[in-house]
């Protein structure tokens, strides 16, 4: 309940959706946000090194 109120205070989800128009392209801000987030996660997944155990940690 607390987190729901907190999120609701940050982002108002009760109103009508917002859309971006660019020529024949029309996309909601919510969908655009998800697509941009996927691109960011994709790039970060490639760039961030995968953790490896140190030699001394071997069993």
């Amino acid at each position: 309940m607390f987190f729901g109120v907190l999120l609701g205070a940050l982002i108002n989800l009760n109103g009508s959706g917002h859309y971006i128009h660019w020529g024949f392209i029309q996309i909601s801000v919510a969908n655009l946000t998800v697509i941009l987030l996927m691109i960011v996660v994709f790039v970060v997944a490639i760039l961030i090194p995968f953790p490896k155990r140190k030699e001394g940690d071997r069993e």
Binding site: V34, L37, F42, A45
Partner: protein
Amino acid sequence: MTDIPIGAVTTEEDRATADQWTARIRRRAEAAFPPKQLLPDRQPAFMASWIYVFGVLTLVSLTWVIVTGCILAIMGPSWWHVSSTGHFVNSLHLWSVECFFFFMVIHLWGKFFMAAWRGKRRLTWATGVVSFLVSVAAAFTGYLTQQNFDSQWISTQAKDGINSTGAGAFWNVLNFGQMLMWHIVLLPIGVTIIAGLHILMVRRRGIVPPFDVSPKKAPAPEVTTSTGEAAA
């Protein structure tokens, strides 16, 4: 790998049961999927990258989708529309689907730029594509069966598109009962079977190596454990 063809008759017992279809299927399955290959404890060193994590994240999300969907099916609409616990499980079902597609698209991008169909892995790629398309249909029918104004809007908008293809004659998006049955029976079975085949193909052919690691020319890659530890 040995040069013995998959499912070949090699022992006395095999010869005795050579004409039995159950024995033939068993031998082929054992040859194609040895237990150590089916459930490996080591992976190539090039897999130590976050981009290889998104396939299993997609699978975890799919598991959550199925588990929460089963709970919703057991309890029924009067539960998920009214009680706070029902709302919670309904939301879990929605958000696990969101995570499923989020991770699956990143998995798809990663495999596309790796050209993951290389090295006799065309069927692995094809089953992944079909799984993605069936998942879209499953999610679509889920939106149609929310029983709210959103589902009414989506179904009335979609009917013209579906009808223009001719499929509306037998696949009516305005038919709530039909869409619900597709959503909770046929499409989940389809996604599960195709995703299962996809995983079997991954285990059969292995993970596609990077472009600069040729399985024929390059030396055998260093192996790591499932936790990313380099093997001695």
